[in-house]
Symmetry: C2
Subunit: 304 residues, 2 copies
């Protein structure tokens, strides 16, 4: 029984008010699989890079129990590259460069050894590719979580809707929930989106936490108030990875387990933003994670 993560493995160059990086390793599959790796140890990824991608980085993923047999390395091609600059509020950013490179014609090949997948994380990527992966699995996974973004709503809405019909959980932010539903009220937005396919909807609100919607139930998860957000890149992917990693570990799909999975995902995301890129996710200890989870519990607890 494994957890399959698809998404991008890529290079990012990031500018924030705190500094800037050269090309560092990023991508939705990188953050999500690293996030999941702290809770679950049978993780496999499907993604594509060029031969400019360092073997040492692949080795590091493997060290985190992430199987990279499904990571295609394209000879003579370059990895996906994104560069962006965050504004002072750290909530908005400008994209400076997007080079699709290997991503332009990515055919997500699922190795035969991956067919035992029970948990599927569709990291942020074209909805067409997300769909293809679902279709290539002989057996439908027990839980399919889909992450996406406004970009795909802008340019591939029809494909996005098709993919939505095939998944169990959708994670998007509040602005995206409003865009996808055409409703300003998040309650109304959620009700609409829950008719589009997913049975569970997670609306990520950054520094304001997250909301989980399912049938008529709502769970409101706090965010840890942070003194400083150093670099928000990958926080959403890390959240999603932590979420599905915890679900895979729990083994049962239920609303209560999803609540906890959101807290665990949020805890991992709160580490992610402390350093550039995925740096902070490379060497977390279980003690650090436990301490952070305790902070979340203390933060939200009241006795009425």
């Amino acid at each position: 029984m494994s957890l399959l993560v698809i998404g991008t493995v890529a290079f990012d160059a990031i500018e924030t008010p705190f500094g800037k990086t050269d090309k560092i390793v990023g991508g939705s599959a990188t953050f999500a699989s690293l996030g999941a790796s702290y809770f679950f140890d049978d993780i496999k990824i499907v993604a594509v890079v060029g031969d400019d991608f360092p073997q040492s980085e692949i080795d590091d993923l493997n060290k985190h129990n992430i199987n990279t047999d499904g990571l295609q390395v394209k000879k003579g091609e370059k990895s996906f590259f994104w560069s962006g600059r965050y504004h002072d509020d750290m909530n908005s950013r400008d994209t400076l460069v997007t080079e699709l490179n290997v991503l332009a014609d990515f055919d997500p090949i699922v190795p035969e050894t991956y067919q035992d997948c029970e948990y599927l994380m569709l990291g942020n990527l074209s909805p067409q590719v997300q769909q293809t992966v679902i279709q290539r699995l002989h057996k439908r996974p027990k839980l399919i979580v889909m992450d996406t973004m406004n970009f795909w709503m802008d340019i591939a809405l029809d494909e996005l809707h098709k993919t939505l019909q095939m998944v169990d959980v959708l994670t998007i932010n509040d602005a995206e929930a409003r865009q996808l539903s055409g409703e300003f009220s998040l309650v109304k937005a959620a009700r609409k989106i829950l008719t589009m396919g997913p049975k569970y909807l997670i609306i990520k609100k950054g520094e304001h936490g997250a909301l989980l919607f399912h049938e008529n139930k709502i769970f409101s998860a706090p965010a840890l108030p942070l003194e400083e957000v150093f670099d928000p890149t990958g926080a959403g992917d890390t959240f999603a990875g932590g979420f599905i990693g915890y679900m895979a570990k729990a083994g049962t799909v239920s609303f209560d387990n999803m609540k906890n999975a959101i807290i665990y995902g949020s805890a991992l995301a709160s580490f992610c933003v402390e350093r550039f890129g995925s740096e902070r996710l490379r060497n977390l200890s279980q003690d650090e994670i436990s301490a952070r989870i305790s902070e979340f519990v203390g933060l939200a607890k009241f006795e009425i």
Copy 2:
């Protein structure tokens, strides 16, 4: 032992995407005292109106166990009037009219029978007037809660700072916390504000809930996700009134009681926004409040 509320008792005319009102009764003391009245039954107000203010409205406050001996009625003068128009997002608004009228030279006279006050709610009003009320009390109340707004930071910052030094709890919204502290991070903002006088700081985040800061402790309270916000006017005052009303009922000043007080205040505010002005606060039942509190408990609960 009583709860003293000072603030405005006034007329509002409100436009929202859902409709508009003629002059209806509003004001920070109105909303706060009505909010508090659901938890505590010895409430007194100090405020001022003109003789255009209907006696029936004063009678209605009295029916909610709100003592109006300290409500000055100025012959031949007009009550404070505010008119505003909310934008589609309901988070921002334009002020259309502000007529200070009786508020221009308000001298807050505290009746001798009010001197038993143990809980003092300084509703949104000039910091100078808020200060005067504290000075006119022979004995410092056990708990002083101060509400204020960006307007006073713009035009009366020095007086605001003086008043801040005299209070226990400050309630402001996130934008105001940033303005007052000059810090973007709410954690940093809170740390600075807690050196200005108040021992407790509540940052109201509207649809995102509220944060309570005290020493190194933080509590994050959820907001009830609402399908529709009909009219946000008075929600902050109602929150503050519910908060201090619950504290007066609890009788002990502690971080744990304040957590619950925030939940009770938030529950009352969630009713307030369901109708124009204070309409929904006039006839709430304890059963309705209990049911809403249960919703809050369910919303935020997780077991880790």
